[in-house]
Symmetry: C2
């Protein structure tokens, strides 16, 4: 809303009318966020059921019903990467909007194909909001899907600064942190922090096909976390990986080399287990590098580090109202519960609620809950 239009009053960063092309999880979530800011949103989707559901959820009006008197301020193309350039060219030919963006998780291949198709790169600012869910479709959409997340913007050198300002405003209205970077840098970054980790997760999960049911019974939280993303849609991920093939291939080859070296060191150790000369250096080295790399990941929400909360485990009976009584007791003590995790024990009448609070609140909350009759375990 600060940047002034420099090419005429029809271009401005204040978003009044936005068109969302593709009413899936991402498109509908963006639409819901915009609607919360009173933006006029029109929606379109090749699937009539998705479009109807998105509109019923309050994400906007179908494009067909809207009296399209003038181009929208912005069109958001929330479609798979393979069809984005064609959709963009078509939308630009029809003059549907003044500025265009997309939300694909790959950028170089989209930019290359858009240029090959002769799209207007002055009004196209590719984007990638770093939010998502394992669920798909408009029914899974949430207005807050991008709250506090990074939103990558990858304009080419041909992009109009006003176009960049418009898409920056879109990210801000969705509560995200806009981050401008080069398309190639973006693709290398997501290969590292998203695409290659997904393949590694699949490689771990694929091994579980070789275990019997007893082996799987021994699965704990670790392997569940490592393999969670492997439950994602193979078709969608195949498309993502093939559109970011070279950067992903490089990272995967490095991972494969690390795993092969570790396997070889362990195998050699077994074969010569009576000889102290066998070096386990590759094993220790990988574990050390892994811990260092893990430590580089910023706090949960993009660059914003959450304060270090203290955890108070409280035993709770597994019955209606127990949590309500617990939180009411915390509220009476004037303490804000920042987060809570519940561990249930099937077949047993107890669970444990882990209350996350600011460190300075631990003592007073623990005392108040204990006085209220709760089984509290601070420091445990």
């Amino acid at each position: 809303m600060n940047a002034k239009a420099c090419t005429g009053e029809e271009r401005r960063t204040e978003l009044r009318r936005v068109m969302v092309i593709g009413a899936g999880l991402i498109g509908t979530s963006i639409a819901l966020a915009l609607r919360a800011h009173e933006v006029d949103v029109t929606l379109t989707d090749p699937d009539p059921a998705s479009l109807r559901l998105a509109c019923d959820l309050g994400a906007g009006r179908p494009l067909e019903e809207a009296a399209q008197v003038a181009p929208a301020d912005l069109a958001v193309i929330a479609a798979p990467p393979a069809i984005i350039p064609r959709v963009l060219r078509d939308a630009q030919d029809r003059g549907l909007a003044q500025v265009y963006t997309d939300v694909a998780s790959v950028k170089v291949s989209v930019l290359r194909e858009a240029q090959r198709l002769g799209c207007d790169m002055a009004t196209f600012v590719p984007g990638h909001p770093m939010g998502g869910r394992e669920k798909h479709g408009p029914g899974a959409a949430r207005a807050d899907l991008f709250l506090g997340r990074s939103w990558a913007l990858c304009p080419t050198g041909k992009a109009d600064p006003v176009s960049v300002a418009v898409v920056t405003e879109l990210a801000r209205l969705c509560g995200a942190d806009p981050l401008v970077l080069d398309g190639a840098a973006h693709d290398q970054a997501v290969a590292l922090v998203s695409h290659a980790p997904h393949v590694a997760s699949s490689a771990v999960a694929a091994r579980l096909l070789g275990g019997d049911q007893v082996a799987l019974t021994l699965a704990g939280q670790g392997v569940r976390d490592v393999t969670r993303v492997a439950g994602g849609d193979p078709g969608m991920w195949e498309e993502i990986l093939t559109h970011n093939a070279a950067p992903v291939a490089r990272v995967l080859a490095e991972m494969a080399a690390d795993l092969a070296a570790t396997a070889e060191a362990l195998r050699t150790h077994t074969a010569h287990s009576n000889e102290a000369t066998v070096s386990l250096e590759p094993v220790r080295d990988l574990l050390e590098r892994g811990r260092s790399g893990h430590g580089r990941i910023p706090g949960k929400h993009g660059t914003v580090r959450r304060p270090e909360y203290a955890v108070i485990p409280v035993v709770i009976p597994d019955e209606p109202g127990a949590l309500g009584r617990l939180f009411a007791a915390a509220a009476t003590a004037g303490v804000n519960i920042e987060d809570v995790r519940i561990e249930h024990s099937p077949g047993l009448p107890l669970g444990v609620a882990e209350l996350y609070v600011l460190p300075e609140a631990v003592n007073s909350l623990a005392e108040a809950l204990t006085d209220d009759g709760w089984s509290v375990h601070p420091g445990a």
Copy 2:
């Protein structure tokens, strides 16, 4: 408590006196669980501070102070795998207990070394409770650490059935599901579901050392989950891996081959991206196998599948008492919240609480909360 002693009344499955050797996370958690069942627990640890803390937490009495009138019913050796056989032999020589178990995550190497040292295998039943935390030491211990988890028991053919019954009773008192299996089968299983996944997590996390800070800013929940276990202690994991070297090496070699094949397919695809003849079959195949393998993991707590809960997102103001009011409203509606996840938005006065409830409770809870003035998003 059912099995009758067959070698004299001094052997029984009712545990009255247990000795825990090693007051770390696992040993202290076992001791706390036993104390909750009125079992007399004595503790020992080479580190006086750990021992004192465990005792102060109510996990038992120090061994030195206990008037040791007779051997304990059971000694639990909660020590690293490398020293277990020596500690076992020493404890058996001193006649500290009638039955012995351990809690190490590897079994074959411990059994082999125990036999080599001449330990009495009739009274030794190796065990492995499938619970843990990322934190270490007695301060992190919890009486419910093993609630609903599997507890592997790996007796050799020489084990006395009464010894097995005693250790089975230990697992039951800790709320776990005892599971008897062969030591080699155990080691192969944990290589698959724990040890190799840990190394894969390290290999993903190690790559993050190669990314700049902007790349890491794009990290989402996926890579956080995949790399969570890579934050574990390298020294502890090196010991675990080297004690289960051959099974882990086999799984890692298979993972490395999958990742290398995927990298090669993607690299070839890039090099020949204009030729439709390049096969992406290895990529799709790994993604499909990964999803199938992920689907084989049983529900969160061992073999017990949790019911499929429905999720109701509710917008909550970030202020003291908000969660208390929310749960009080749920309790008034007579609905039990089975689980809850909270998404905070730093810098914004709102968050979203995802309430997990039985599917049949969704409508009544959503209505009650809406009537109570909450911003409820069932189906979102």
